[in-house]
Amino acid sequence: MLQMIDEGLIELNINGETRKVLVRPADTLLFALRERLGLTGAKPGCENGDCGACTILLDGWPVKSCLMLAVEAVGHQITTIEGLENPPIQQAFVEKFAFQCGYCTPGFIMNCQGLINNHPEADEATINEWLQSNICRCTSYQEITAAIKSVLQKNPA
């Protein structure tokens, strides 16, 4: 049984590295990433699971790191925006002007990357269903849709 009684060190697998992190059991993964590891690509936008700015990949699936305890992530593979290796979705966001202030961008990109990994042939309805988990207040979303579509269309499938 995994147990954590009070504040202490846990081991997290982040971007392919094992990192020791000091947290309270009640600390969120978002807190651990930002405040303990300096991985500030994941952003707090609501800390309530409503905006998606803190999205990371957990075992390849998008998860809001504000709605997950850091200790809960023990034994799982975490990927943050800092761990992406120049995937086409970043280029697409740049080319399609799919961001302005950029604050929601890491979360959107992580969700997009999750979709690209898991459903490389996603149709428009699936794109919408997935990306509705994130809020962008600057763009009209038309640009973001164009970005993800351009990557999905390039997939060999």
């Binding site: 995994l2 147990q3 009640a26 969120t28 957990l58 998860v63 809001k64 305890l69 988990s133």
Partner: protein, 276 residues
């Protein structure tokens, strides 16, 4: 930022979980079973949860099952709404779960958690109510099975220390003709103005509702009214609406009057689609 502390446990078996609960309870820790944890975290932020320990059920083997066993579809309480949607073994459940919160959050919300949490809508429970499925529960007295409609009546009816492990859904019903309707005030990702799940069991059309009253429900009286084939669909709908278990909700999502208007229109179109 959760402003208070609690301990975290992730037991590897149901027995371990139940024993742990009793132990922590005896220590006055007010333990909570923890599924996806989304509600515990978001309510914890507002100090609206009072607990000193959470027991994560996701490593309990039974809680992670999603497969057909004999005449049943067995789904563990720790299976996420996304896993249910992706497997699509019970399309109505897949659909209902895919409209709870948003897609990313569905990667975290579990079937058991959506039923046992404190947000009243519990929309993934509706298809379960329609199938009269069996709930497998672990508790201090060992495991027991009970019909879902007993385990959920206005609220979850579990004894202290009990935890839901699995749902056993009759295989015969998972592919029955069905309709899922969710209406919101405006934004799609939202609490329901109303959610209706309807399933034609072969004998009759069964209906379960969320958003109409303070709790999700299935009503024999309303089902009787809606299945009264001697009357036209819109009379049946009116009659069913008059049988609501409590007055129509009147809240931020909708006034009671508009909700009634939407409910009626939805019921008529479901009846037209599913017959009955």
């Amino acid at each position: 930022m959760i402003p208070f502390d609690f301990s975290y446990y992730r037991p590897d078996s149901a027995g371990e979980a139940v024993a742990l609960f009793q132990d922590l309870d005896a220590q006055g820790k007010k333990p909570l079973y923890y599924g996806g944890g989304t509600e515990i975290i978001s309510m914890g932020r507002h100090n609206n949860v009072d607990t000193g320990a959470v027991i994560d059920i996701k490593s309990i083997p039974e809680c992670g099952v999603q497969e057909f066993q004999d005449d049943s579809l067995v789904i563990g309480a720790g299976v996420t709404l996304t896993q249910i949607h992706e497997a699509n073994l019970f399309p109505l459940l897949a659909q209902a779960g895919a409209r709870v919160a948003d897609h990313t959050t569905q990667n975290k919300i579990t079937l058991g958690g959506n039923m046992c949490g404190s947000i009243v809508y519990r929309e993934s429970l509706l298809p379960l109510l329609l199938t009269d499925c069996e709930v497998i529960i672990a508790g201090p007295g060992g495991n027991r099975n009970a019909p879902v409609n007993d385990i959920f009546d206005k609220q979850v009816q579990l004894n202290r220390g009990e935890v839901i492990l699995q749902y056993r859904i009759p295989k015969s019903l998972v592919n029955s003709p069905h309709v899922h309707v969710k209406r919101t005030k405006s934004e799609k990702i939202s609490y329901p103005l109303l959610t209706i799940c309807a399933l034609n069991s072969g004998q009759q059309v069964r209906f379960a509702f969320s958003g109409l009253c303070g709790y999700p429900f299935r009503s024999k009286e309303m089902e009787q009214a809606l299945n009264d084939t001697s009357r036209p669909a819109d009379e049946r709908a009116d009659h069913a609406i008059s049988q609501l278990p409590e007055p129509m909700a009147d809240n931020l999502e909708s006034s009671a009057a508009y909700r009634q208007f939407v409910l009626k229109g939805s019921l008529v179109s479901i009846l037209n689609e599913l017959g009955g």
